[in-house]
Structure formats: C-alpha cells, structure tokens
C-alpha cells in the first residue's frame, strides 16, 4: 500500500497530499480533532500535546507526550497517535481526565487536553514508582530499582514526576488543582487498553518520499541513503525532533525545498557503552538518553531536568542541539565539560571531532555541508564532582542567562583536573579554559576558589539583553563557582553527588 497515513485514536488518518510544512497539529485539527490546540506554535505552552507510541526498552511500547505543533505531520506516517478525545469521552472519562475534573484542574479548559496527554504519559510510565495503598497491580514494579534515579526528581507521593508537566502552561488554575490531580493518580486498571497496548511493539515510521507543490519530504531507511540525499541536495535540511525547525516553519514561514528525516535512522540511534566511552546516537531523544543512562553520567543527569521541558525532551536530540549550535543551548556546556567527542558522517566517510574544536562562531561549526552528526560520546570515567548551574528567571523551561557545567576531580584537597563548559556568555558555547588552568593544581579551599571565581567571571564576552545584563552574567559566573564550593566544601569532597 503506497498511501501514507498515521493512526489516530485507532483510525487511519491519510497523509497523502499533506505538505511538509503542515504540522501534525494542523493535520489533526483538520480532521475535527480540536482538543489539541495551537497556543503558541513554538513548543512553549503544550496546548497541542498528544500521545505517541514509541519503542520501549523491553521491546514493547511506551506512551510519550509530544508537542504536535512542531513536527511535520508527515514525520508521523506509520506511527500511532492518541489524543485527549481518544483517551476518553464526556460520558466515560479516562482516569486522568476524571481526576482533573474531580480536583478542579480545568477552568477555561483550553489548555486541559494538552495537560491530559502529558499526565497520561506519566500515568502509563511503566517505571513510575507506586505507592502502597493505591490500586497498584504490580504492573511495572520490576522496573523500580533500575530507575530509582528518578527519586532525585520532584516525584509526588504516587511517583508522578512533576517534570512531566514542565511543558504545559495554564493561565487559570495556578496549577495546584492540576498537581493535586497528578498526585492522586493510581495505577492503570488491569483492563486498561492503553496500558495493555504497551506490550506490543510500537510501529516504526514508514520510509517515504513525498513531493507536494515542489516541496519534498524524505524519510530514508539508512544513513547512507540520507547522506547521499544531503550530498545531492545541498539545500536539503535534516530534521530529527523538529523542535527548532517547527518554530521557524510556524513563525518565520521557513519552507526548505527538501526535508530529510533522520530521527529513526538506526545508525543514529545507538546507545552503547564500551570500556572506554559512552556513545549516544545523534537522533536519540533526550528523554531516551536520560532513561538509558539511568544516572551513569551524573552531569547529564543534572542537566536533563533543567533542559527545556519534558515535551521538548521527548522530541529533541543532542544531535539537533549541537547541530543548530545555539550559544545558549544547555546541552553544549555539559558536553564540553565532559570532553565529548562527535562523530561526523558524510559520503566521504566519518571523522571524529572534539566538541571543544567544533564551534567556530555564532551558529557556525566545523560541520561541512552534507555532513551529519552521527554520535556523541563521552568517556566512561566520570569526574568526581559535577554540577550544572543554570541561571534563569523561571525554574524550568526557560532560557539560560548563564549556564555553567562543572566536571572537576580533586585529590588530596587539590584540584587535579577541571573542565568547565559555559553557555550564554559568548557567540558560541565555550570551555572556560583560563578558569580550568587557574583551578588545576590549586587547593580546593575557599580562598583559592574566591581567586579563581574572579577568573571565571572574566570568561567569554557576555552581552546584555532583556534577559540579563552583561554585569549580571559575569557576576553569576563567579558566584556559580563559589556556590559549587559551598555545596562541595572539603568535608564533603569526594562523596558521590
């Protein structure tokens, strides 16, 4: 069957003739599925959230909430979507919907279906820690130990990770009733069809080559095929989670002639740990990476909860984050501190580039036309002391004024090795090289840290803008190091974080 379609609430929704610039949200709304809405068109508000069945580590599937306003509808061809309308009906509310109603979680109701989908994804998360006394049926209990790093998150009494709602905005309720509903959720019932669905594999996106009014959308099957396309079409744009492309498509009317979907290329979806290095495929979503790493790279574990929102992390990738080379992305500072290496692939072959050599200017990198980031790797050996400091106005889902990532080793009270990655202080993410040098060999004492903090405050060339002044950014750099010291004063140095 040549026709492209996406399964929505159990029914096929044809995608033939849908242009690459049409978002999944617009395709759903055109079919009368108007529960998901366009609140901002840039992945901030979550009013567009829907559920998608994605592969789970156990070979089954998991329900993942994503922003529907950002990805091309075509990128979901072959996949399986559930919307708020599909979860329940007015006469037969889904447990998440029933809790929201019961706790007063909806006022104007505009954002609510989006919250429903984000909450439902968390409701069905197999490794959500349960509470005794809830209707826990044992489903997923066997995963609890493996994922106990979730305890670090803001978990509710029923294991509900509050980060699940970090990408949904509500202007009416003040959130308390929504959180009450989230914390009141029990376990899915034994006959819950969406819970049962998790036992089956998630459908893979189908390869496609669509041309609508001169605009092409291609989902190749292999990396080689993708690289050939990129070599043959210099203007082709590779797309993974579309969390950046979707914004410029929606708001700046950006219409590339060819989109090449790389988010499911097997070669870009590796997750591998050798004796030497931990390797993350460029098209692995941040949520997938977080789950697979399970805390074994502590600096990334510190990064993830502060990185955009859960909805974004469910689509965004390290490859995309480094590909756009934003100076204020939060991924690069952490990876710089971890001495990350990139593997770049093209039709010419592959090459390795240290991330510290990768950025060359504002949104400029050594990546050549036709070249893709294939993998990101970091050493297995982890630094003794790590931290990710993000200075921003809001706690989550905000843009950093300054981001500082630390990876420091201390032996016998002396810093033996320091890697510090910075964001928001220059046209590129950068290593705080002068600070690293000043710190290395210094005693880990308050006096020495005070001295080095002045060096750190002088790193980079931060600009003042409406988010923060230059003076504040600089001051926060120095303050950040003093804070790190306060948290890791000698008495506690060496203790695992």
């Amino acid at each position: 069957m040549a026709e492209l379609s996406v399964t929505v609430n159990g029914m096929p929704l044809p995608l033939d003739g849908v242009a690459p610039s049409v978002s999944l949200l617009d395709a759903l709304r055109a079919q009368g599925l108007t529960g998901a809405k366009e609140g901002c068109a840039e992945g901030e508000c979550g009013a567009c959230s829907v559920l998608v069945a994605r592969p789970a580590a156990d070979g089954g599937s998991q329900w993942v909430a994503v922003n529907a306003c950002l990805p091309p509808a075509l990128s979901y061809a072959g996949q399986e979507i559930v919307t708020a309308e599909g979860l329940g009906s007015p006469g037969d509310l889904h447990p998440v919907q029933a809790e929201l109603a019961h706790r007063g979680g909806s006022q104007c109701g505009y954002c609510t279906p989006g919250f429903v989908c984000s909450m439902a994804a968390e409701y069905y998360r197999p490794d959500r820690a349960g509470l005794e006394g809830t209707e826990a049926s044992g489903v997923g209990n066997d995963h609890q130990d493996h994922h106990n790093h979730h305890d670090r998150h803001d978990d509710g009494p029923n294991g509900f990770d509050e980060h699940a709602l970090s990408g949904n905005l509500c202007r009416c309720t003040g959130y308390r009733p929504i959180m009450d509903a989230a914390h009141a959720l029990g376990r899915p019932a034994a006959d819950d069809p969406f819970a049962a669905r998790r036992a089956q594999a998630a459908p893979e996106p189908v390869p496609a080559h669509v041309s609508v009014a001169g605009y092409e959308y291609v989902r190749p099957e292999t990396l080689a095929e993708a690289l050939d396309l990129l070599a043959a079409h210099p203007d082709a744009v590779p797309v993974a989670g579309s969390t950046d492309l979707g914004v410029v498509t929606n708001l700046a009317m950006y219409r590339p002639q060819m989109l090449v979907a790389i988010d499911r290329l097997p070669e870009l979806r590796t997750l591998r740990a050798t004796d030497e290095r931990i390797e993350i495929g460029a098209a692995v979503t941040l949520s997938e990476a977080e789950s697979w790493l399970a805390g074994r790279v502590p600096l990334l574990d510190a990064l993830f909860p502060q990185f955009a929102s859960r909805l974004i992390r469910n689509a965004a990738t390290f490859g995309g984050n480094l590909g756009t080379a934003s100076p204020i992305g939060d991924g690069a500072p952490a990876l710089l501190a971890l001495d990350a290496t990139l593997t770049l692939a093209s039709t010419e072959g592959t090459r390795e580039v240290a991330l510290s050599d990768y950025f060359t200017g504002y949104r400029q990198t050594v990546r050549r036309p036709g070249e893709l980031i294939a993998t990101i790797s970091v050493p297995v050996a982890q630094p003794g002391m790590v931290a990710f400091h993000k200075i921003a106005k809001r706690r989550y889902d905000d843009i950093s004024s300054v981001a500082v990532a630390y990876a420091i080793d201390i032996e016998g009270g002396v810093v033996t090795r320091a890697r510090i990655g910075l964001g928001g202080v220059a046209a590129t993410p950068l290593r705080a090289l002068a600070t690293e040098a000043a710190l290395t060999g210094s005693a880990w004492t308050e006096a020495e840290v005070d001295r080095v903090a002045e060096v750190l405050a002088g790193e980079g060339t931060p600009l003042g803008d409406h988010r923060a002044s230059e003076a504040y950014r600089r001051a926060m750099l120095g303050t950040s190091l003093r804070k790190l010291y306060a948290e890791h004063a000698p008495a506690t140095t060496g203790a695992a974080r």
Partner: protein, 826 residues
C-alpha cells in the same frame, strides 16, 4: 419530585464538580477557531513593524495575485465605512483621544497596528500573501517612555498637541468625605512621619491561553458573529454603532472562551475587520490570531508610575495619603482604558480609616499597544501601593507590619463603614481573617527563623510579606457608573424558563470563560426552586438566547448576575404560587414554598413544583386571567459595590548571592461572603494569586528603544509554569454581604489583587537589613541582586539592545534551549 438521598442539604456551599468539565477536558467542545462554515474564507493581518510612522503607500497587487487570495483590504479601501473604535469611558468632559481606525489609513501609532487584511481560501495562503503586501512608511519619532511622554517630549499623536488624554482628581476635602491631605502632610512633617515613594506598575499582558478568534457569517438575515470575547453583548452593540448595522440584524455568540482576565473585555479592530471582510466577500470569514499577534495587539494592562505621600503620626496612625499617578494609555483608548486607573482611585485607602485622601491621575498616550482592563483593573495597582507603604510605615515606626495595619484598619464593629472616598463598605472582619492567616502561616515561627538567618548571615535570607487587601468589585451600581461618566450601566439580567418536563433553563446575561457559571448557577437555582442540580441548564453567551446582559468582568457575575437569576427564580415561584393556590383550593397568602413543594400552611396538602409547571403548561385548569407561563425575567441593578477582603501572608527565600527568589509559604485567608461552590472558589483564588505572583516575579512587557515589543512570545513573556508555583494554603472567613440575597462577594480578581504586594513585601523584608527598601517589579534575580549590591535602589530597566524574537543573528535566541534539527534554518 424525585427524592435523591445523597444530595447535600443545600447545593449552595457544596463543592459540585463542574458541569463544564467533561466536554472541556475531553476536548470535544466549541471554540471559535474550531468552527468551519461552507465556503469559509480566512484572514491574515498585515501589521506595522513601526511604533509610529506615516504610511506613504500600500501596494497589495502581488498579494492579490497570490494563490487563492480573494481580496486585500487596506485602510484606504475601508476608511469611509470602518468607523472608529469606541471608548465607553470618557473620564472627563475634555478628555482627548485620537480617532481609532480598525485599519490604519495614513498613520500607525504602535508596532502591531493593522494596515491591511488579506482574505484567502486558507489560513496559510492568507498568511503567505500577507508577506507580499508592500507597505512603505515614513518613520516618525515615537513616544515610548511614560515619564518622557507625560512631559510631551515626543507626541504620540501630533494632532492632539499633547500626550495627556485627561487628568482626573478626587480630593476628600473637596468631596466632603474627609479632610485636607496637604494639611495632614504639613502636620506630619513636624514630629510625625512622612513617607514618600515612587512605585512602578510594569506593563503586563493578560496572556489568556486561547488566542482570540472571530468568525462572521454574513449569509442569512442576521449577521452572525462568533467571538472569543468576554462581552458578546458589548460586541453586538458596538458592531451596530461602529458599522451602522441595525442591532437587530446582529447576533453575537461567545462559545467556549479560553480565558480572558480582562483581556477579552474589548471591542477590537480584528472583530470589525472580520465583519468588513465577510460583508465585502459575502462569505463566512474567520480570523484567528497567532500567539505573537495576541501578545502585541490584544490590549495590555497596568503600566503606571505611582508617586505616593503618606502622612502619619509618630506612632503610625495614618493621617493622610496623597496619590499622583501617571497611567500609560498606550496608543489609543479602548473600551474602558481611561477608567482603569479610576477603578483604583477609591481603593488606595483600602481597609484603613484614613481621614484625608487625595488622588490625581494623568492619563498619557504613548506609541505602544493600548492598555485596558487586566485582572483587577486599577485595584491591584492601588493595593500594591498602599500595602507596600504600610510595610514602610511599620519600619519607620519600628513595629510589626501586621501591628501597623491593625492600628489603622476598620474594626469589625465599625461596619457598615463609609470610607474616605465616600464608599460604604457593608461588611468585613479584618481581625478574624488576619488571626486565621497568622495561625495557618506559623507567623511567629517564621519570624524566629528569619531572625536566626539574619544573625547567622545566611546567604539565603527569609522575608515575610503581608497584604491585607480589600477591593471594590461586583461592577456596578449604574448610578455610580453614570456619575463616573461611564457610558453603560452595571445591571445584569436573567431569565428562568420552566420546561414542561420539569427541566429548567436559566438564561444569564453574564458570559463565562472559565468561571464555572453553568455549575454555580445550577446550584443556586436548584436550591431556589427545589429541583435537582442536573435538571438545570444554564444558557449564556448568545445574544439570540441571552438577549440582554452586560457580560463578565470586574468580579460581577455572581454578585450581580446570579442575583438577577435568584430574582427571576423568585418570580417563577410567585407565579407558581398562584397556580398552586388554585390547584390546592387555598388562598395565595396561605401557600408556603420549600424544597420544591407548595403546601397549604397548617395542612399536609401539597403540590410539587413539577406538577405546577405541568399545570401551567397544559393550562387546563388555571386561575381566571392567569397567563399560562411561569417563565420570568429579572434585571438587577446593584445598590453597592462588593467589598471582599483578606489577609495574605507570604514567605520568600532570597539567595543574596544570585538574587534568586523562592517562595517558601503562602497563606491566603479571604472573606468573600457566602461561598456557592468551594471548588470553584479555590480555583479562582489559586489562579488569581498565581497571576499576582507572576506580576511580582516574572512578567513584564518589555519594549526596545524602537518601540518593538521584545517580550512578544511565551518564550520571553514568562508566565509561570507548574514548577514555579508552590502549594498555596487557602482558607476563608465569612462575613456575608448585606447587599445581595445570598451574602456573596466577588472573588475572581481577589487573588491577583492581594498577592503582588505580599510577594514584594516579603522579598524586600528578606533583604531590608542589607539596606534595600524597594525592588522594582518583576523582581527578577538580576534586579534583586542589583538592589542588594546597591547599584540601584530600584533595579532599573534591564532592557538594552533587545533583539526581536526571531531576528537573524539574535545571539541570545534559542526558542527551546534544545533544538533538535541538524542544521535547521541557519
């Protein structure tokens, strides 16, 4: 009557789950943007990028040639038929205002003003073609900064000759409601206390979640307009007035509306343009704004400078308050723009027995988005100013901020109390609310912790903020509105229709957009008529159904709108009583009505309401001359405002090294009179508090030096997310209002009015020992840090070289800090 055992004794007071929820939560309901009509056309607006410019030419030829474009309308095309947008509140006879075209004709006065509209067969094609409209501008100097604009340094509208729209004054001495404030200040300068402060109310954006959407269907005898509005009745009247269409030929429907907060209390250019487009093409037309359009063109709120002088005796008894405001109107006067500061004029004296008071406000034009009502409208500004000042007075006197308030507030035995503004507060008990709040807060323990942290020089300091607010809401007695030169009244209408099967239809002139009227009105009517909650259907938001009404804003719906419902229901009972007496062969005077049943006093003869309704419907056996109809209407004009009050206590932790603030605890004890539905009330209070907290901590509409809105997306206009809010403790004390049947008071705005000063007072309290006595809102980490460093006492604006949201080369832009395309657009 079916007897249902598990029902509450009364519906009023019961936390009924909302009737509205199922359809909203499942996502199967009617928002304006969901509507699709046969042959529907779609609009895209061409907006000015300049704050102030002369339009020298508009070339729409390329757009007209674009695929599936049906028409392009420019200001020149519609200048003779578009009329001017209305301002319903000329606060002074000599108020100055520019004409306000829906589509600018020869000059634009703010960035975002509409200069042309493209009408096409799909929204995408309309937007693409809008990019092709070539407008040439001659840029003019723009009036941007409020104080400079007030000094007429640059004129927002050169033809007016000044930026001052109006100056409005209230003086208690002149009004005979109090003493002379100048005398009080002079006296206080000699041995008393005079506190002089200047506070800034930053510009805010209502930022309702549903972007505005309008549909106009011109096919049919009546023009039908669907609008995501708070005020369908206003839209009907003003569509008639502005476009010269008979009101009887217009039907306006507000279907489900996704929040408003005052931001949809407006008659907008976009509504006029949608109607013009539909009439021009003869086809249904739809316009749905994008988020960035919403943030730049839906009206903004607040934006004042407040110069304040408080006089007090040495022991902290306030003797006078003088308020001098500059209020930024923005570029035009919207529906109630000039009146917003006036709604605050009578509230600076708040809960206190001030003997002398003077208020003056200068309304000033700038070349920015026009301002208008935003949750609280005038009263948050007043409450902020006085509650900040009372904390300052407490410091001067050297007593606890709650103590200074107690020395000045109206004691509960003084009610009803006539304020220095001449308003009569009907009821209240500030002592009770404060005592309860202190208890829930653990006030003394937190003060002790604060002292410990100060003593140990903890980098994270703790502050406690107090806000003992009141407000005037329940807009409004029509005569008072008339005395303030407002064009309309403040009554509300309702009708109650008894269906033959025993079901009840309640038609309300209020127009909910999240407040749960369908549920609350059902509870009230179920009690009143003794019918099951489920049997009551509440109809609203369609001028063909609810033909009469003044809509929803100003915390008026329950205290004014529901009172009309009650009175209509009571009229039904009185009519039914006549029928019941006839059926029971008794005298009308001997018929009692309770629990849905008419009884003959002293007997067990009874007729259920349903039986009486059927009798009236069948009309087989009615008293002679009795019109076979129990349906009733009522219109209620309140005799007074509603005066809810409360004590809000907030504890904030301030990291003195980074300026970052964290809310530790928040307790709100409100007195909102009788509560109809605690679930809904808690929701209103919670949501209101968080909006007020957002003003204190996060939100600000920032313009750059060219007059471009920098915070023009939800990335930069940072409304709070769930992670930014804590679990608030909310409780009530109750002093029933004496001015309506149930004893209710308004609640929709209370939280937003109360919370802002509580938060800022807490932050200032946390760092006052470091020499800080003010931090300008929003208290961002940088402003707090700067205040602590003493670089500037008030933080100051942090705008500099702001780049547009999507501008090429904007070095600090990254929409989600986590992009995932490789290469992407750049």
């Amino acid at each position: 009557m079916t007897v249902v055992d598990d029902r509450p004794a009364t519906e009023v007071g019961s936390p009924r789950r909302r009737k509205e929820d199922a359809r909203l939560i499942v996502g199967r309901t009617r928002w304006t943007d969901n509507l699709t009509l046969p042959g529907m056309l779609h609009l895209a607006m061409v907006r000015s990028p300049y704050a102030h410019a002369r339009i020298t030419s508009v070339d729409a030829d390329a757009a007209r040639q674009a695929p599936n474009v049906v028409a392009v309308l420019t200001g020149e095309d519609v200048k003779d038929i578009q009329g001017g947008l209305p301002c319903a509140w000329p606060i002074t006879p000599d108020q100055k205002a520019p004409t306000h075209p829906s589509i600018a004709v020869d000059r634009v006065a703010f960035a975002g003003e509409i200069v042309a509209v493209v009408i096409a067969r799909s929204p995408g094609e309309a937007r693409d073609a809008a990019e092709l409209v070539d407008v040439e501008y001659d840029e003019l100097p723009a009036a941007l900064e409020l104080k400079a604009a007030a000094a007429d340094q640059t004129l927002a509208h050169p033809d007016l000759g000044t930026n001052t729209s109006a100056v409005w004054t209230f003086d208690s001495g002149a009004a005979g409601t109090g003493g002379d404030v100048e005398a009080a200040i002079s006296a206080a300068r000699d041995g008393g206390i005079v506190i002089e402060r200047e506070y800034r109310q930053q510009r805010l954006i209502p930022a309702f979640m549903e972007p505005r959407s309008f549909v106009c269907d011109p096919t049919g005898e009546q023009l039908t307009i669907w609008s995501s509005t708070q005020v369908p009745h206003f839209v009907r009247i003003f569509t008639a007035a502005v476009l010269g269409i008979p009101e009887s030929k217009i039907r306006v429907i507000a279907p489900d509306v996704g929040g408003g907060f005052g931001g949809k209390l407006q008659f907008t250019p976009e509504e006029v343009i949608t109607v013009l487009a539909a009439r021009h093409t003869g086809k249904p037309c739809k316009y749905t704004e994008t988020r960035s359009e919403s943030l730049v063109s839906a009206h903004h709120g607040r934006d004042q400078w407040q110069k304040l002088t408080l006089a007090a005796t040495a022991d902290g008894h306030v003797t006078g308050l003088k308020v001098e405001l500059l209020a930024d109107m923005g570029a035009y006067l919207g529906l109630v723009t000039p009146g917003v500061p006036i709604l605050g004029a009578f509230m600076f004296n708040a809960i206190y027995t001030f003997p002398a008071y003077h208020f003056t406000c200068r309304n000033v034009f700038t070349n920015k988005t026009w301002t208008d009502a935003y949750r609280g409208a005038g009263r948050p500004e007043a409450t902020y100013a006085i509650e900040r000042l009372m904390d300052e007075l407490a410091v001067e006197v050297g007593v606890d901020p709650l103590e200074i308030r107690e020395r000045n507030w109206i004691r509960h035995e003084q009610f009803p109390f006539t304020s220095v503004c001449g308003l009569e507060y009907d009821s209240g008990n500030y002592e009770a609310a404060t005592a309860r709040a202190k208890e829930l807060f653990g006030y003394d323990d937190l003060r002790a912790e604060q002292a410990r942290r100060r003593a140990s020089n903890d980098p994270v300091q703790l502050g406690i903020g107090v806000s003992t607010f009141t407000e005037m809401c329940g807009l409004a007695p029509s005569r008072v509105l008339g005395s303030l030169s407002y064009a309309a009244g403040g009554w509300e209408a309702a009708s109650v229709r008894m269906l033959p099967t025993g079901k009840v239809e309640v038609v309300t002139g209020t127009s909910p957009h999240g407040q749960g009227h369908e549920t609350a009105w059902s509870q009230i009517v179920a009690d009143r008529l003794g019918v099951p909650f489920e049997d009551v259907e509440v109809l609203h938001g369609d001028t063909q159904v609810a033909h009469k009404g003044l809509d929803t804003y100003g915390s008026r719906s329950l205290v004014v709108g529901a009172e009309a419902v009650i009175r209509a229901a009571d009229k039904v009972i009185e009519k039914a009583r006549v029928v019941a007496a006839h059926l029971l062969e008794a005298s009308v005077e001997d018929i009692d009505f309770a629990n849905g049943s008419f009884t003959v006093r002293g007997t067990d003869s009874a007729q259920a309401m349903a039986e009486v309704v059927w009798a009236a419907f069948s009309a087989h056996n009615l008293p002679d001359g009795f019109e076979p109809n129990l349906d009733s209407e009522a219109t209620f004009d309140p005799v007074s405002f509603s005066f809810p009050h409360g004590t809000h206590l907030c504890a904030m932790e301030v990291d003195t090294e980074t300026g970052q603030t964290t809310m530790r605890k928040y307790v709100a004890v409100d007195d909102i009179g009788t509560i109809v539905n605690p679930l809904i009330v808690h929701g209103q209070v919670h949501g209101g508090i968080v909006q007020g907290v957002a003003q204190a901590l996060w939100e600000e509409a920032v313009y750059d030096d060219a007059g471009t809105l920098v915070s023009g997306s939800l990335v930069d206009y940072t409304i709070p997310s769930s992670a930014d809010t804590i679990s608030l403790t909310v409780d009530q004390t109750t002093s029933p209002s004496t001015t309506n049947t149930l004893g209710t008071k308004g609640v929709g705005e209370a939280g937003a009015i109360a919370s802002t000063p509580a938060v800022v007072n807490a932050i200032v309290d946390a760092v006052r020992h470091l020499g800080v006595n003010d931090i300008r809102m929003p208290c961002t980490p940088e402003r707090v840090w700067t205040a602590i460093r003493g670089a500037s006492g008030s933080g100051g604006p942090s705008t500099a070289a702001a780049a547009s949201h999507l501008g090429a080369g904007a070095p600090n832009h990254d929409p989600d800090s986590g992009a995932a395309t490789q290469g992407g657009a750049q």
